[in-house]
């Protein structure tokens, strides 16, 4: 499993537990609003799951909050050693 697949697996697991659809989740899918419709509590939950899995998370570590699924994937691709 690539880093990207692992990250997507955590996001999918989060969506399943939150009773949200996992269909059509792609890097361009927005996290809030019209996309996954996360509110602050749900985003906090996702950030905790990512932190538990990878030791850090883009919601806490980055200067700007991730806006799309792709932003989360990119955070780990940049952060992770090659």
């Amino acid at each position: 499993m690539t880093d990207q697949d692992k990250t997507l697996a955590v996001i999918t697991q989060f969506l399943t537990r939150a009773d949200k659809s996992t269909d059509d989740v792609s890097p361009t899918t927005g996290l809030y609003g019209d996309g996954l419709e996360l509110d602050s509590l749900e985003a906090a939950e996702l950030s905790a799951m990512l932190e538990d899995e990878f030791g850090n998370d883009p919601f806490s570590s980055g200067d700007e909050l991730p806006q799309t699924v792709g932003d989360i994937l990119a955070f780990y691709e940049v952060a992770a050693p090659a």
Binding site: R17, S40, L41, A43, A44, E45, S47, A48, M49, D52, F59, S60, L65
Partner: protein, 481 residues
């Protein structure tokens, strides 16, 4: 302590006072040994010469004139000997958790400026550069005959004080200085019940443990004191040592019942169950009533600083609103201010270690315990310091925890705050599942169990664990990073 012990030794000299893994001791023997310990504290001759004068203090160690002593001792019989002996000698005793690793213990001792430590722990006695000084108390009892006749004589007026370290770990270490005579007031009304056999579930270094010691001696009963003091050890004591009375925290009871059920053992009948130290979940109270139908169940509300505050025995959670100050009861010791319980005029501490005595005035003092009036009861909602601020919403961990614990597939759980950049904090839960429970199914059950609570109260981090964190037999609920 010494007054209670002298009374018990006079009334029932051959009654077994304490049973430990090392053996048992009668009240007469305990009093004799306490006098031997007190005599050692008055002895001007050196008890030990420093074995390494080159690196250490070359002067021999004398106990005469010592005012404060630390005790690091797992065996409750030894704890009783040393506490009573120190009280008799007017020496302020302070116990430390007896199995604390050396690396943690030394800074703890230094924090309270304890330079003399009584212990039988070989690793401490054999330290190459012993600072503080560690002394083995065993030789004191090799020939107790010179002081044994004092045992039947009139006891000296006890003036001893005891220092009780608080279990909190945040901020600077704290310890409350108590006077044995004031502490003894809370057991003044206890009638002799020599048939009772009390389990020591608390550490005797805790305030609640001291209360159990005092109660047992006042009742001239028998203390059953296993070591270690985990709930499984308590269960063994219940099954093997005819324990009839148990005082413990709800967390302790939860684990003891779970252990008993997983072992499939039949629990004996109990005469008395005392709960304290934490708010009591209603389902646990009901479980105890079902499991021990003949037991009297009472709840004590006490703190290391304020001493014993309320005791109720009506089998209901919390205490009656009639205990609060009111027009009908202007002299009451309790009132509620902004949801927090305040107390006054309790048999509390003299002051904190290293600080002067607190004046014994009538001032109301906040307890840090949050309460709510439900009908005719004052019910506990948890500690002020445990409240989780989730995006500006104050969340109390206990209702969340109680909802989770009530699930049949959950053996134990704790709820606490977890720092989060987005909301400041989120509600986190650690859950011990009953064997064979599917993880995702359990998560769904937890979600359903808290569905009626406001959204901010829902756990956003749920972790399945083998055991939950406890401290001093209480569930740890403080905020985590």
């Amino acid at each position: 302590m010494i007054r209670l012990l002298s009374r018990a030794a006079a009334a029932a000299p051959d009654q077994v006072a304490v049973v430990t893994p090392e053996g048992s001791l009668t009240y007469a023997e305990l009093l004799r040994d306490a006098h031997a310990v007190a005599a050692a504290f008055a002895d001007p001759s050196p008890v030990r010469v420093d074995p390494s004068p080159v690196v250490g203090d070359p002067s021999p160690v004398r106990l005469a004139g010592v005012r404060r002593v630390a005790i690091v001792e797992p065996d409750a019989a030894w704890v009783l000997r040393l506490l009573a002996g120190a009280a008799l000698a007017g020496v302020e005793a302070c116990q430390y958790q007896p199995d604390t690793p050396v690396g943690e213990l030394l800074p703890q001792l230094a924090a309270f400026d304890h330079t003399l430590v009584v212990t039988r722990r070989p690793d401490l006695l054999e330290l190459a550069d012993p600072s503080p000084v560690f002394i083995d108390p065993s030789p004191v009892l090799i020939d107790p005959s010179p002081v044994s006749e004092q045992a039947t004589g009139r006891p000296k007026q006890a003036t001893g004080r005891v220092l009780i370290r608080t279990t909190g770990t945040t901020g600077e270490p704290k310890a409350a200085r108590h006077d044995w005579e004031i502490l003894a007031r809370t057991v003044e009304a206890v009638a002799p019940r020599p048939h009772q056999r009390w389990l020591l579930a608390y550490g005797p270094q805790q305030f609640a443990g001291i209360q159990v010691l005092q109660h047992v001696v006042a009742a001239q009963a028998t203390l059953v004191a296993p070591f270690p003091r985990q709930p499984r050890d308590g269960l063994d004591a219940l099954l093997q040592h005819d324990v009839t009375c148990v005082s413990a925290t709800p967390t302790y009871w939860r684990f003891l019942l779970t252990e008993a059920r997983s072992r499939g053992v039949e629990l004996p009948e109990l005469e008395q169950i005392t709960l304290g130290g934490e708010a009591i979940p209603p389902d646990l109270l009901a479980d105890l009533e079902r499991t021990f139908p003949t037991a009297r169940i009472s709840q004590v509300y006490a703190s290391t600083e304020f001493g014993s505050i309320v005791s109720v025995g009506d089998g209901r959670a919390g205490f009656g609103v009639d205990k609060l100050v009111s027009v009908e009861n202007p002299e009451a010791h309790l009132k509620i201010v902004d949801g927090e319980l305040h107390v006054r005029r309790t048999a509390g501490m003299l002051g904190y270690a290293g600080r002067p005595d607190v004046p014994a005035d009538d001032a109301w003092k906040p307890t840090g315990d949050l309460v709510e009036i439900v009908g005719d009861r004052v019910e506990f909602r948890g500690r002020d310091s445990d409240v989780i601020n989730v995006g500006g919403v104050k969340v109390h961990p206990l209702p969340v925890e109680n909802a989770i614990i009530a699930l049949p597939s959950v053996a134990a759980a704790r709820v606490f705050g977890r720092a989060n950049k987005l909301t400041g904090a989120i509600v986190a839960a650690e859950v011990v599942a009953v064997n064979g429970t599917d993880e995702e199914e359990l998560r769904r059950q937890v979600k359903a169990a808290v569905a009626d609570l406001p959204r901010a109260w829902h756990p956003r981090s749920i972790t399945l664990v083998e055991a939950i964190a406890t401290q001093g037999q209480k569930t740890v609920r403080r905020m985590e990073p």
